[in-house]
């Protein structure tokens, strides 16, 4: 079991506190390809934040690959994100003044890997994504699908325990979306655990399991 959530609760403080996640219990096995679906405001983004160690939760327990993720310092959280999680975002989130190779290598920069080693590993990941010939291109010179492939290469370079994808096809046309989903399925076939957050039923259908969330509860 790579992800285990037990009775997770999360509310945002305010005049009227907003109880966003209510007693969430969820298990995801190693090697699964899972989608989390829900309408906007359902709490799926908050769940993603917690899964990605981007945000804290109020009560319950979250184990990621056997590590209890709770009350972490910012530094510890940064390390765990770097070592265990590969993020893929809707708007790619490549750094626009760095070329494809540098973008892919960036997570290893924060791990203190030498430049030569970093670039070698980044090139390997770009080759895996079929993007080796675009290594020196800036993000602005790449198409949407190409950008998302670079972003996936960046997520993979740290050899993470899971890949968390937030609406990975949200900014892509249907043809490119299919290609990107094919990339995810190929990675899954190689044994990678992948969690995709989406509201697109077409994307959900291509995963092995759909977790539906509504009004802060899994249904």
């Amino acid at each position: 079991m790579i992800i285990s959530l037990k009775d997770i609760n999360k509310s945002y403080p305010g005049v009227v506190p907003l109880h966003v996640l209510k007693d969430i219990n969820l298990s995801i096995e190693k090697g699964e390809l899972v989608s989390i679906m829900g309408a906007s405001g359902s709490g799926k983004s908050t769940l993603l934040n917690i899964l990605g160690i981007l945000d804290n939760y109020d009560s319950g327990e979250y184990y990621l690959d056997g590590v209890l993720i709770k009350n972490l310092s910012e530094n510890k959280a940064a390390d765990l994100r770097n070592y265990m999680i590969g993020f893929v975002f809707q708007s790619f989130n490549l750094i626009n003044y760095k070329n494809a190779l540098e973008n892919v290598a960036l997570p290893l920069f924060y791990r203190g890997v030498s430049r030569r080693q970093r670039n070698k590993l980044a090139m390997e990941q770009l080759e895996r994504m079929g993007m080796a010939d675009r290594a020196t291109h800036l993000p602005a010179e790449l198409s949407g699908g190409q950008k998302q492939r670079v972003a996936i290469a960046r997520a993979l370079i740290t050899k993470p325990s899971i890949i968390l994808a937030d609406e990975p096809t949200g900014a892509l046309d249907s043809k490119t979306s299919k290609e990107v989903m094919q990339v995810f399925r190929d990675l899954n076939n190689d044994g990678m655990t992948i969690v995709i957050v989406t509201h697109d039923p077409g994307v959900g259908e291509q995963t092995n399991r759909i977790i539906r969330i509504s009004d802060g509860r899994i249904i």
Binding site: S45, L48, N49, G52, L54, D55, E74, N75, A77, A78, D79, R81, N82, Y83, F87, F89, Q90, S91, N93, I95, N96, Y97, K98, L106, P107, F109, Y110, R111, R115, R154, T158, D166
Partner: protein, 414 residues
């Protein structure tokens, strides 16, 4: 380290125009600082070279007119210094007096050679006089103690006077006549504005027809280092001579006293104050540049909120973001600061060339107001340290602000 630098260079390149505009303010501030520093350095050098030719630790005393009635004597008495005053000054102020010398002036005698003659009389002096007046010997030597002891009839003249008297011939060893006595020329000094003819004090005394008056007494101070001590010594000399010549201690007209040491200390203090003022003005000018950098870093952090969020999401620790923002600020400040330094040094070299080319103030450029207005390596190092500190300070607050950016920002859409 190399990674960090290339990272910073990439972000700076990304915003070329903004970086350049911000940097201009810093360059300008540093440029002004360097130019001001070099000009003030030039002023100090000019002053020091002026003083270094002369003996600064001396007090010159001449007789004046006693303005006040004192002990039954009427006002407006002429005070005339005499030989015996030298010994009294030395013995009664032994703790501050090094050496006491005097001068006898004769304004009327002619100095004649076979060719021509000079007017203006002669000065009977001690060997120490050479340094007091800052005379630079061109040929031969100045009067020495043996000349005094043996009452030799020797004379030292200005090099331009030597030309008047002897033309192109070597003046050393030539004979001149002063008051019908033969003198041998033993040296010539470089003519500035002074063209006095010097003979040994004892010789002048012998020629003064039984008078014991001296025109001027020069006291070389010893063990005096502060303005207070120097002014007190001056007052003590006045009291001592007041007892000898019967005038009131506070009668300022009785003696003309020129305290070169006090003058020197005062102008040194003034120069020090100019130096300080230049630093203050320069740093304040730079401050506006620094505020500009700080401002732009705030804008940069704001603009890059999303990027910083992404970096945090993929594993950047808060400290590495902090370091990057501060180093970016230091990089902007130092880079453009150095442009300012280079321009400032070029301009001050230009000023230096101009000043030495035009020859400054005096004839032949001896008394330059500005001398070598350039900055040395120690100032360059000081300015560099200032730059790095300033850059770090400018980046500190934006960097602290960047720490508030949460990794969740990465998930927000731009």
């Amino acid at each position: 380290m190399f990674d960090l630098i290339s990272e910073i260079m990439a972000t700076l390149r990304h915003n070329k125009l903004r970086t350049a505009l911000t940097g201009f303010a810093v360059s300008w501030g540093i440029f002004l600082l360097i130019v001001l520093l070099s000009v003030s350095r030039g002023l100090v050098n000019g002053m020091e070279s002026m003083f270094s030719q002369r003996d600064t630790e001396t007090v010159s005393i001449r007789g004046g007119y006693a303005q006040k009635a004192y002990k039954g004597l009427k006002e407006n008495r002429r005070i005339r210094l005499k030989d015996s005053d030298l010994g009294v000054l030395a013995s009664q102020n032994a703790n501050v007096v090094g050496e006491v010398t005097a001068r006898i002036s004769n304004d009327t005698s002619k100095v004649t050679s076979s060719k021509d003659y000079l007017t203006g009389g002669y000065q009977g002096v001690y060997p120490a006089h050479q340094h007091n007046d800052g005379l630079k010997m061109v040929k031969g030597r100045f009067i020495n103690q043996n000349d005094i002891n043996h009452t030799r009839r020797v004379v030292v003249i200005a090099d331009e006077s030597a030309e008047t008297l002897f033309g192109k011939e070597d003046p050393i060893g030539q004979l001149v006549k002063i008051s019908d006595l033969s003198f041998t020329v033993i040296g010539t000094y470089e003519t500035e504005w002074r063209r006095d003819t010097y003979i040994p004090f004892s010789t002048a005394r012998a020629m003064s027809g039984g008078s014991d008056q001296v025109n001027n007494i020069t006291v070389k101070l010893k063990d005096v280092s502060t303005l207070d001590e120097s002014d007190r010594a001056e007052q003590d000399f006045r009291s001592t001579l007041g007892r000898q010549h019967t005038f009131a201690d506070d009668d300022s007209g009785s003696l003309w006293i020129w305290n070169r040491f006090s003058d020197y200390l005062r102008s040194s203090t003034a120069m020090g104050a100019i130096g300080m003022a230049v630093w203050v003005i320069g740093l304040l000018t730079m401050l506006s540049g620094i505020v500009g950098v700080s401002n732009i870093m705030f804008v940069s952090v704001r603009e890059r909120t999303h990027e910083i969020g992404v970096r945090r999401a993929i594993g950047a620790k808060p400290a590495s973001i902090l370091r990057q923002i501060i180093l970016e600020s230091v990089a902007i400040t130092t880079l453009f600061g150095y442009i300012g330094i280079v321009l400032g040094v070029l301009v001050s070299q230009g000023i230096a060339a101009l000043v030495s080319g035009s020859g400054g103030m005096g004839p032949g450029g001896k008394d330059e107001i500005l001398k070598d207005p350039t900055v040395d390596i120690s100032i360059a190092i000081q300015v560099t340290v200032v730059l790095i500190i300033a850059g770090a300070l400018a980046g500190l607050f934006p960097a602290l602000k960047s720490l508030k950016i949460k990794p969740v920002e990465a998930l927000r859409d731009e």
